[in-house]
């Protein structure tokens, strides 16, 4: 059934269709609509779940972990400051292997305050061991929550579904809401590998010596790496049932491209338009949206850019003192090919500054010719800097 709705409404519907059993809610712009909607959905018994109006994001994640450990499907949503606040619990959740799914609305981190789109918040959490998926549109938000639970509950790892502040959270789009019965076929109830159970008592997460700790982390790392394949399989199954694709990378005209523009999130739409414009001018350019950032979707990525010689990465984030985080990730992946692939790194669109065709085209031209208004700082070129 198709409906017009904002991304946050789509997220709430996704959680409802996933039949989550415990929802922890704490307000933070621009996520708040998610928890507001869920409070109402649960209040009207449209979803059989416990709603916990927690007193902080740290407690939001803590209570999701607690609920998940009893075998219940748990959900929460947050953004920037809240995500940062629950940082230690993100490590904890991944370490204790609970398949919590959380929606994060990518927003800039203080100081100074800025409520608008910026990817530093979630990318700064990439070491916590959560799966990370970045949505392109509201449909992607709803669908990816369902796929995420499917994947998380197979791999016993938590997954973060990210969506751009305001571009996705507050923009209305047409969304095809799947049928609950079909969703139930795709996503059966959660079967934990182990849980807090008085009939089978165990202690979870007590102090571990160095010998076993290494083996535990190794196992977890392998399982985290496997998320790419697990997601692909789940997404294929999802496509069989709902006829929609949600790949880990989304390539546009890269097969014959020399140059490729790369980014995450909603800016990819503008990137495709920019590709069309540049192709009219004769440039063999393509674009790539990285949907998954953790684990890095190595296979999908390498396949997509097999023939590309010049990558232009637009980071809506920065790792201060280093460079754009996506650029850094790509450089790591491309280490063996660094001789024959060029990578130009741009920082643009942080703090909600628009990334549009009008801004992308000059960036591509600057990357190729070396001339343009973006300012150099270390190994990155900063667009949007005041003169």
């Amino acid at each position: 059934m198709k409906k017009v709705m904002m991304g946050t409404e789509a997220a709430a519907l996704g959680a409802k269709l996933a039949r989550v059993q415990v929802v922890s809610g704490y307000p933070i712009t621009p996520q708040t609509v998610i928890v507001e909607n869920l409070a109402d959905i649960i209040g009207r018994s449209e979803l059989k779940a416990k709603y916990m109006p927690v007193e902080s994001e740290h407690s939001a994640m803590a209570s999701c972990i607690g609920a998940s450990l009893t075998g219940a499907r748990a959900f929460t949503a947050t953004s920037s400051q809240g995500l940062a606040y629950m940082h230690e619990m993100l490590h904890y959740a991944a370490g204790v292997r609970v398949p919590v799914v959380m929606v994060n609305c990518n927003r800039a981190l203080a100081s100074p305050w800025n409520l608008y789109c910026d990817h530093t918040d979630s990318l700064a959490q990439r070491d916590t061991g959560w799966g990370q998926y970045y949505c392109a549109d509201a449909q992607d938000v709803l669908d990816s929550i369902l796929i995420a639970y499917n994947v998380a509950e197979q791999a016993f790892l938590p997954i973060m579904i990210n969506m751009d502040a305001f571009y996705l959270t507050h923009t209305s789009e047409l969304v095809d809401v799947p049928d609950q019965k079909v969703v139930d076929i795709f996503l059966p109830s959660y079967q934990p590998s182990s849980k807090l159970d008085v009939d089978d008592p165990k202690t979870f997460g007590n102090v571990c010596g160095a010998d076993l700790f290494t083996s535990i982390k190794y196992r977890r790392h392998c399982d985290t790496l496997s998320l790419e394949k697990v997601w692909d399989r789940a997404a294929t199954r999802f496509c069989d049932l709902f006829n929609r694709l949600h790949p880990t990378v989304e390539a546009y005209q890269t097969e014959d491209a020399d140059v490729c523009v790369i980014g995450i999130g909603t800016a990819s739409g503008a990137m495709r338009l920019a590709v069309d414009r540049l192709r009219e001018e004769g440039l063999k350019v393509g674009s790539l949206r990285l949907a998954m950032m953790r684990p890095f979707p190595r296979e999908g990525f390498e396949e997509a850019i097999a023939n590309v010689r010049h990558l232009i990465v637009i980071d809506r984030d920065v790792s201060f003192g280093a460079e754009g985080i996506v650029a850094q990730e790509l450089k790591a992946i491309l280490f063996d090919r660094h001789g024959d692939v060029k990578l130009t790194s741009f920082i643009a669109g942080v703090g909600g500054k628009d990334i549009s065709v009008e801004t992308i085209v000059p960036m591509v031209q600057q990357a190729i010719s070396g001339a343009g208004t973006a300012v150099e700082a270390g190994t990155t070129l900063w667009a949007d800097v005041l003169p």
Partner: protein, 403 residues
């Protein structure tokens, strides 16, 4: 309890970091410097009892409703309780620690009550051997001596020249001791030990008679006789308190000055002396074969006295103490005796109050499977000393124990 640490390989690890077993393999007992020793010690009442009756033990049995067990304990250490329960000057009560709270337990009254119950009991005895003993004189010393030798397996005959057994006890006024009671009590002693009594038999050592001549050992109890009684030829004077070994087949008890002449209130002393005598006589009888063992070996006799400092009066003051009615003389009823028994602090004697068990931070002192005693888990006990400190009756002490 599992002691072996389970070997782990990476493939054994569960997906979630959850545990697979307990910490029992961790021998925290290695941390100890001092080890708690759980050992019953003699209560001050028992320590001072001339017959060494294990008073706190039989009071425990009573308070738990095991009347027969209590009576057996009493009779096994004092074969004339109906008499001591009336005549003894009860030094036990003078030492009763309960005095520090309100007043001493009326031990003698309880002893009398228990003894008067008239319940038929049997006590532990060895089966009879071929060793024959003649005991001449049926006062409390002679009777006690005969009783123990009989329990330990000797065929004993008690001879007394008078028509009534009891020695100087016979001469007490009926108010002090009812004559029928005396007869019944001595009768019980004879039955319990499975020995024989022949009254009206005067022994002439020049013409001894069958019993005396066939006896492997002859013991004279001259307590009731006059001061100038001379030991017959061949008989050796034996002081049960001082002399170590019996060197002759005919011995005559020689008592210290404070026990001569016979004093009824000292009756427990004579009973105790009788046992000491029997013990040493028994050694002489069985030494050659060394096969007979002592029945009712009275393990308490080798214990130390409890340290009074270890009796935690505050514990009893703060706990619910049984309400005690005014002390009453005369014969008691069951409820009264039970109530009094419940007031006993059980000094030095474990009564399974389980304070130690409930206060151990390591769950390393536990009630045994058969629920008769507490035992320390030496593999895990860290030697903190809480059990010893919290035991209100001084049963547990912290000791240096070398490997």
């Amino acid at each position: 309890m599992e002691f072996e640490k389970k070997i782990i390989s990476a493939s054994d690890l569960p997906i979630m970091p959850s545990t697979i077993g307990t910490m029992a393999w961790n021998r925290t007992g290695d941390w100890r410097y001092l080890t708690p020793a759980v050992a019953n010690k003699l209560a001050p009442c028992t320590w001072d009892c001339p017959a060494a009756v294990p008073i706190s033990e039989y009071l425990n049995a009573l308070r738990n409703g095991h009347v027969e067990r209590g009576l057996k304990l009493l009779l096994a250490n004092n074969p004339l309780p109906r008499l001591t329960g009336r005549l003894c000057y009860h030094p036990c009560q003078a030492k009763c620690v309960r005095r520090k709270i309100d007043r001493a337990i009326s031990i003698q009254q309880i002893e009398r009550f228990l003894a008067d119950l008239g319940t038929d009991v049997t006590i532990e005895k060895n089966s009879k051997t071929d060793k024959k003993v003649a005991v001449i004189g049926s006062g409390p010393l002679g009777l006690s001596c005969a009783f123990y030798l009989g329990c330990w397996g000797c065929q004993v005959v008690v001879l007394d020249p008078r028509d009534q057994a009891g020695g100087a006890l016979v001469d007490l006024s009926p108010e002090k001791v009812d004559p029928q009671l005396l007869v019944n009590e001595i009768g019980r002693l004879i039955r319990l030990a499975d020995i024989k009594l022949e009254t009206g038999v005067a022994v002439d050592f020049d013409r001894p008679g069958e019993v005396v001549s066939k006896a492997d050992l002859v013991i004279l109890d001259p307590t009731g006789l006059s001061e100038d009684f001379s030991v017959p030829a061949g008989a050796v004077a034996f002081n049960p308190f001082a002399d170590k070994t019996v060197d002759s087949d005919i011995i005559a008890a020689k008592l210290p000055q404070n026990l001569k002449p016979f004093k009824a209130p000292m009756i427990a002393h004579y009973i105790g002396a009788g046992r000491l005598m029997a013990r040493k006589a028994f050694d002489r009888l069985v030494m050659p074969s060394g096969q007979l063992r002592l029945a009712a070996p009275n393990p308490h006799l080798s214990r130390q006295m409890v340290n009074i400092e270890d009796i935690r009066i505050e514990h009893f003051l703060s706990s619910d103490l049984a309400e005690r009615a005014i002390a009453k003389h005369g014969t008691w009823e069951w409820e009264r005796a039970l109530q009094e028994a419940e007031c006993c602090l059980s000094c030095g004697t474990c009564n399974l109050c389980l304070q130690c068990v409930s206060f151990c931070p390591d769950a390393s002192i536990r009630l045994d499977e058969d629920e008769t005693a507490v035992t320390v888990d030496l593999d895990h006990c860290k030697g903190c000393g809480i059990c010893a400190y919290e035991c209100p009756r001084g049963v547990i002490t912290m000791e240096t124990i070398s490997a």
